[in-house]
Structures are given as C-alpha cells and as structure tokens.
Subunit: 194 residues, 3 copies
C-alpha cells in the first residue's frame, strides 16, 4: 500500500485520496464555479405604491417564514414606505419637502399605481384586504422585521430625497449602495426588481 | 486487488470507488449545493397593462418554444388578463365589480401603462403590431397554453378581487400562492417580476 | 502498478484516474448541471422613465466597474432612451411619429413615471441629483459604454416603433430578440426586468 501511495503521488493519481479530500475538492470546485446560496432572496423595492409594496412584503415574509434569508433594498420611491407613519414632512429644501408631501411616508399611506382616485382606491383595496383576511402592508413590514428580513435603505437616494435615518422606522439595517445590492444578488437564488 | 480494496475501505481512500459511484457522489453534492434547474423559467405577471403583458407572453412563448419549462404566476392587476373576453363584470360586491369595470378583462382589452388616451393608445399599438407581424397578446396567451406554459392565477388576489375560476379562461393551472411561486423561483434559472 | 491499472479499468474504478482527469470530470458535471456564469448580469430596460433609467444605468455601471460582464436589453419604451439627443421625431408613419413626439428621445429628456408635471418633476430630480453629486442617466449611459456594457436594442420593438439604427446613439450592439435575451439570462447570475 505504501508503495502504491508513493506511485500515485508521483503520477498524480487520485488512488490514495481520502473520501474527505475528494469531497472537499468537489465542494471547492462547485463553490468557485457558483458562489450562489440557494437560501438567499434579494428584493429591490423601487416603488412606493401600495400595489407593489404588497407583493414585496408578501414575498419577503413568506420566504422568511419558510426559512430563507431575505433582504429588501429600498430605493427611490420605495424609500417613502420606510418613513415613520407620524412624519408628515421630510427633506431639507423646498424640493425634497415637496416630494415628501406628494409621497406621504409609511406603507400605511401608500397610493396605488393606478386607479388611485386621490386615495379612494387604496382605501377600497385595504377594505377588500381586511374582508379577506389579507394582512396590511404595514403589518407585513413589521412581520418582516420580526422574521429578521433585512431592510436596507439605499444611501444614494436617501441623500437625493433628503431623507434622514431619524425620519425612518426603527430597526432598519445600515443604508447600503448599489454595489452591496449587486454583491448580494450575485449570490441569491431569487432576485427581483419590484 | 481484494487486499487493496480492503485497505482503501479501512483508510477511507477513494481508490476502490467505481466511476459510477464517483459521479453519483459529485451529482449529489452539486444538487445539494444548488437545487436549480437550468431549464426552469418563472415569470410574475403583476401588471395587466398591454405593454407589460406583451413582454410577459413573448418571453414565455419564446422560452417554451426553445424547450424551457415556463410558469407564469398572475397576480394583482395581472389577473385581469386571464378573465374571459366576453365577461364584462366580475366581482362579488360593489367594490370588486367596480374594479372589473375599470380593468376590463382579457389581454384583448388591456390598456397601456402610459399614453392610454382612453383606449386609443392600445388600439394604435395593436395596429402597429399587426402591420409588423407581431402577434397579439391574446394570441400569445393561447400559444403559451399550446406550448404547455403553466398559467397560475394567484389565489389570494383572486379572493381579494372577487374573481372566480369560471370568470377566467379555460386551461389554467390550479390557483397558487406566494410560497409556491417562491419554491419554483428558487429552482428557476430565470425569475422576473414584470 | 500496471496490473492495478488494468484491474481498475476493467472494474471501472477511479483508482488510476489522475487528479487532472478528476477535476475535468467534476468541472464538466457542474457545467452541465448549471450553465450559469457568476459574472454575468442581464438587465431588461423596458421603461423609458427617468426614475427607472437611473437604477438601470446605476446597476449596469456599478456591476461593470466591479468587473462583471453586463448587458442591457432595451425594449418598448426603454428604446427611446437610446435615441440621439438631437432627434426630435422618429418613426415612419403618423402613429410612430406621434409616439416619438410623446416619448422624446434620449435619457436626457426622459420623464418621470409619476409626478412628472409636464417635465418639472424630472428637472427638479436632476437638480437634486446635481446637488448631491449623483451622475445623470445620460452620463451613466456614456460611462456604461466606456465600461463595455453591452447595449442591445430589441429588434421587434424597434420595428414596431419605427426606430432605425441611425436614430439611435452610436456604439450600440446589434439589435437582438427575446431568444437572445433569454439565452443570456439563463446563464446570468443576476437578471432583472426594470
């Protein structure tokens, strides 16, 4: 046997490789080839509309409840769904203050992307949801936090819209940028732009 | 040889592994690491607008024609594109009936997300498509069914909007929920939220 | 040793496989199982709105700057963001000419999906971006080209909207179709419909 090992080493054969070594080699090759983790989900919440916050929070909480590791990256209009419910005005100049007036903060006050009718549409949608036992987006957002879904506000668009950390709900993760979102999506089994 | 096999087993070497055993081991390790099937495509059809039903059905039919296994999960406004063409009103109360009036069913009557002009925009778009030999969304939907694309209505939003199975076109798959869509996307090579 | 090799070959054992052969076998099995390249990113730019061109170009340039291989497939309204800035009218009949008037070409003239206010919204957004050192979409588009991001116009929707290659900015890749986009997404680590 000793002789055969020497021969194998000399000739580069796998004959004397242990099963553990083989499995480590294969695992390393798979890892290098595909850094993806089948358990990761990354959602980009671009929209602040009720009808898109809903699928975002439903997918996030359902995946997290199923044991997946979920991160939601809030950017652009989506940021307003993270603003505290009691905040009426955010921003640091007339432009960003105006934006906040037209995008009232928190998922609770989100409008619909169509058939908004000055807020009547969302009220009706919320009433329908209540009648059918469908959770409200703001409740799903709280549930997401309970389920350890990472909520990442986008730093660049926070700056753009004059939103500060204290304007936003507690328990958010550190603001992040596009590079962080991309690195996470590269490893994610599911990445959606909603 | 028999002696060497015993030695290998005792020392945990791979020396006496057969080629088949090796391939099975590697296949199992890859499978565990990545449950994804490169052949699966999952599309979430959130929008009922003509300009989004078009890419959804074009991607679905092109992928299926190329031999891929495609499922389209219709949710929210997207559900209305599954409603039968002859249905004018769906829903079980004034709210869901109103919704159906404003979202006339079937891909054939879908509006545009912008430049709708009370239906003139979609008519023009359809005329342009006809002139250029581009298939209509409702034809692509029928073609998708012929190509065995799975069409899944979302149970939760069907309930919300008071849509029943009999309001919808024939040949749909069983209504499904977010957990089913997520499980499928986890295995899919391509998952898009449209 | 020679005897053992013969025995291994006869019995299908891996005993006499070289390390190189083993690695080639495993690499082939991984490749067959998953044709995906962790370095590929494919974005579908469906929208021509400023607020969506921004994330598209930010994600594309950030990924490319990080060494990833990025392709953006421009379709439908997204095509108008590739039109030359100086072009006021494109199209080959009254319908497509009308479309071009309502979708003024180039990222520089893109409107917002909401709060457009006849162009005041985008102007304000651009002013905010300037104040915060955020690059303009048209600059990001040029940067994307410098970083070798592939920019693919969709052939079918170009025909539909009467857009010709000479209407569009220089340096674009060959127009492509849904099948090309799907084949690329199948191999991509990140595929988003924006």
């Amino acid at each position: 046997m000793a002789q055969s090992t020497v021969a194998a080493a000399a000739s580069g054969l796998v004959a004397d490789m242990s099963r553990d070594e083989l499995e480590q080699l294969v695992a390393k090759m798979i890892e290098e080839r595909d850094p993806r983790d089948p358990n990761l989900v990354t959602l980009i919440a671009f929209s602040g509309d009720l009808d898109r916050i809903w699928p975002t929070t439903i997918l996030a909480t359902t995946a997290a409840a199923g044991g997946m590791d979920v991160a939601v990256f809030f950017t652009f209009w989506g940021l307003y769904s993270l603003v505290k419910e009691e905040k009426r005005i955010t921003g640091d100049n007339w432009m960003t203050k105006g934006l906040s007036l037209m995008n009232r903060g928190s998922a609770e006050h989100a409008g619909l992307s169509k058939l908004n009718f000055g807020g009547a549409g969302p009220l009706m949608m919320r009433k329908l949801a209540k009648e059918h036992g469908v959770a409200m987006p703001e409740d799903l957002m709280a549930m997401a936090q309970d389920l350890d879904v990472k909520l990442w506000p986008c730093q660049m668009t926070m700056d753009l819209m004059g939103l500060k950390r204290e304007d936003m709900i507690d328990g958010l993760d550190e603001p992040a940028g596009a590079a962080t979102a991309l690195a996470r999506m590269q490893k994610s089994a599911i990445s959606l732009f909603i």
